[in-house]
C-alpha cells in the first residue's frame, strides 16, 4: 500500500512538473549529438568573456580619466572609449559563438558584474597608452591559453577533442585583431615617446588633437 502511495505521489509530481502552463511549454526533446564542445574548453571560453569585459571596463576608466576638465585630453578619451566598446563587442562575439555551438544554455554564472578597474589615474597619455599595450598583451596571451586548452583538453576525464573550428576562429579572427591592435598601440607609444623627449607638454597636446581626428 505504501509503495503504491509513494508511486502515486511520484507520478503526480512528474505530471505536475511537465504540465504546460501558458508560459512554460514543457521539456524539449532536441538531439544533442551536435553539441561537441568539451567542458574544459567551454570553461576557458567563459573565462575569456569575463576577461574581455574586464578590459572593457579598464578602458572605460581610461576614457573617464582623460575626459576630466583638468586633464583635458579629448583625443585620448575618445580613443579609450572606443577601445572600451570594442572590448565589449569581443565579449559579445564570444558569447554568440558559444550560442552557435549549443554549449551555452545557462547564463547565471557567465558574467561577474562587479568589475572594478585596477587603475583609474594616469600620469599622462603616454603612460596610459603603455598600460593599454600591456593590457592587450595579457588578453592575447589569455586567448592563446584558450586555444591550447581547446586543442588538447586538459582534464583526464574528457575525450581528447581537438576543437578545430573554435581554434581556427580564435586564431583567424581574434588573434588577428589583437596583433593589429597591438601594432597600432606600439606605434602610437613610439611616436609619442619620441616627441616627448624634447617637447613633453606640446608633444602630448598635439598628439591628443591628432587622436581626435582619427
Amino acid at each position: 500500500m505504501k509503495v503504491i502511495l509513494s508511486l502515486t505521489i511520484i507520478f503526480t509530481a512528474i505530471a505536475l512538473t511537465s504540465t504546460n502552463t501558458p508560459c512554460d511549454h514543457g521539456a524539449l526533446d532536441i538531439p544533442d549529438k551536435w553539441i561537441d564542445m568539451v567542458d574544459s574548453c567551454y570553461d576557458q571560453m567563459k573565462n575569456q568573456v569575463q576577461e574581455e569585459l574586464k578590459a572593457s571596463i579598464q578602458y572605460l576608466a581610461m576614457g573617464a580619466h582623460f575626459s576630466k576638465d583638468t586633464v583635458n585630453r579629448p583625443g585620448f578619451a575618445k580613443f579609450f572609449f572606443n577601445s572600451a566598446s570594442e572590448e565589449r563587442q569581443h565579449a559579445l562575439k564570444l558569447i554568440s559563438y558559444l550560442l552557435m555551438r549549443g554549449k551555452l544554455t545557462t547564463v547565471s554564472d557567465l558574467i561577474k558584474k562587479n568589475i572594478v578597474p585596477k587603475i583609474t589615474i594616469w600620469h599622462d597619455g603616454l603612460r596610459a597608452l603603455k598600460d593599454a599595450l600591456e593590457l592587450e598583451g595579457n588578453v592575447t596571451q589569455k586567448i592563446q591559453n584558450v586555444i591550447k586548452v581547446c586543442e588538447t583538453p586538459l582534464r583526464a576525464d574528457e575525450k581528447k577533442f581537438n576543437d578545430y573550428h573554435l581554434v581556427d576562429y580564435l586564431t583567424g579572427e581574434f588573434l588577428e585583431e589583437q596583433y593589429k591592435g597591438q601594432q597600432e598601440l606600439a606605434g602610437k607609444v613610439s611616436n609619442l615617446e619620441k616627441m616627448k623627449l624634447t617637447h613633453k607638454q606640446l608633444g602630448e597636446f598635439m598628439f591628443d588633437k591628432k587622436l581626435l581626428e582619427e
Binding site: N20, P22, C23, D24, H25, L28, I30, L53, I57, L60, A61, G63, A64, H65, S67, K68, D69, T70, A77, F81, A84, S85, R88, L92, I95, S96, L99, G102, L104, T105, T106, V107, S108, D109, L110, I111, K112, K113, N114, I115, V116, P117, T120
Partner: protein, 226 residues
C-alpha cells in the same frame, strides 16, 4: 543707491567665489616665476554639480550593471532551446543602450568638472547564482518594465535635486541634460514594454500560447525598443 551698493557687492561676492582662485593662481604663476600651477584651481565646476555628483556616479554604475544584466537575458533567449530571436534582440538593444548611456554620462560628468568613481562598482551588486536572468518570455518583459521604471525614478531623483532653488543644488544644465537624454526616452521605452506585457498576457491566455509566443517573438524582431 543702497540697493545698488548691495547689488554690486553681492555680484562681486558671487564672482569672487568662482573666479578668485583661478585668476589669482594664474597671476602668481605669471609674476613669481612659479614653475607649477595647480590646475584644480581652474576647474569647470559651478552650480550644483558637487551635490549631484554622487547620484550621477551611482546612476552610471547602474547603467553599467544593467548593461551586463540585459546582456545575460539576451544571451539566454539566444540559446538553441529558447530560440527567441525577437527577445534576444530586445534585450541586446537594451544592453547596448545602457552601455552607450553609461559612456555618455561619464562624458557629461567630466564636462561639468566631476569624475567617475569606479569603486562604486564594488558595492551593492548581488552576484548570486539565482538564475534571475533565465526567465520565461512574459516574465522577462515584466522584469524589464520594472527595471526601466526604477531607472526612470532614479533620473527623476537627480532631476528633482538639481531643480531645488537653493545655492548648492540648483543646476539647470543637469536638469536639462537629464530631461533630454533620459526622461523622455525612458517614457517611450516604458510605454513600449508595458504595451508588450499587455499584449503578450492576452495572447498567452489561450490554448495557442506556444504559437502566440512564436508570433510575438517574430513581431519583436521587427520593432525597436529604444
Amino acid at each position: 543707491m543702497k540697493v545698488l551698493c548691495v547689488f554690486v557687492s553681492l555680484l562681486a561676492a558671487a564672482f569672487a567665489v568662482n573666479n578668485g582662485v583661478c585668476y589669482k593662481g594664474i597671476e602668481e604663476f605669471c609674476s613669481h616665476d612659479k614653475k607649477e600651477i595647480n590646475p584644480e584651481k581652474c576647474n569647470s565646476k559651478y552650480g550644483g554639480i558637487n551635490k549631484a555628483l554622487p547620484h550621477l556616479q551611482e546612476y552610471v554604475k547602474n547603467h553599467i550593471v544593467l548593461n551586463f544584466e540585459y546582456m545575460l537575458m539576451s544571451t539566454y533567449f539566444g540559446n538553441y532551446q529558447k530560440s527567441r530571436e525577437g527577445f534576444e534582440k530586445l534585450f541586446m538593444d537594451l544592453s547596448n543602450s545602457k552601455w552607450e548611456k553609461a559612456i555618455d554620462l561619464i562624458k557629461h560628468i567630466t564636462k561639468r568638472g566631476g569624475e567617475m568613481d569606479f569603486t562604486k562598482m564594488r558595492a551593492n551588486i548581488p552576484n548570486n547564482n539565482n538564475e534571475v536572468y533565465e526567465l520565461y518570455e512574459i516574465n522577462s518583459l515584466a522584469k524589464a518594465l520594472e527595471i526601466e521604471k526604477d531607472m526612470a525614478e532614479a533620473a527623476y531623483h537627480i532631476h528633482g535635486q538639481a531643480s531645488e532653488r537653493s545655492k548648492d543644488f540648483h543646476d539647470p544644465e543637469i536638469v536639462s541634460y537629464i530631461e533630454n537624454e533620459f526622461i523622455h526616452k525612458d517614457s517611450e521605452t516604458i510605454r513600449k514594454l508595458s504595451g508588450h506585457v499587455s499584449d503578450l498576457t492576452k495572447l498567452l491566455d489561450s490554448p495557442d500560447s506556444s504559437l502566440a509566443l512564436y508570433v510575438f517573438d517574430d513581431y519583436l524582431n521587427k520593432v525597436s525598443i529604444v
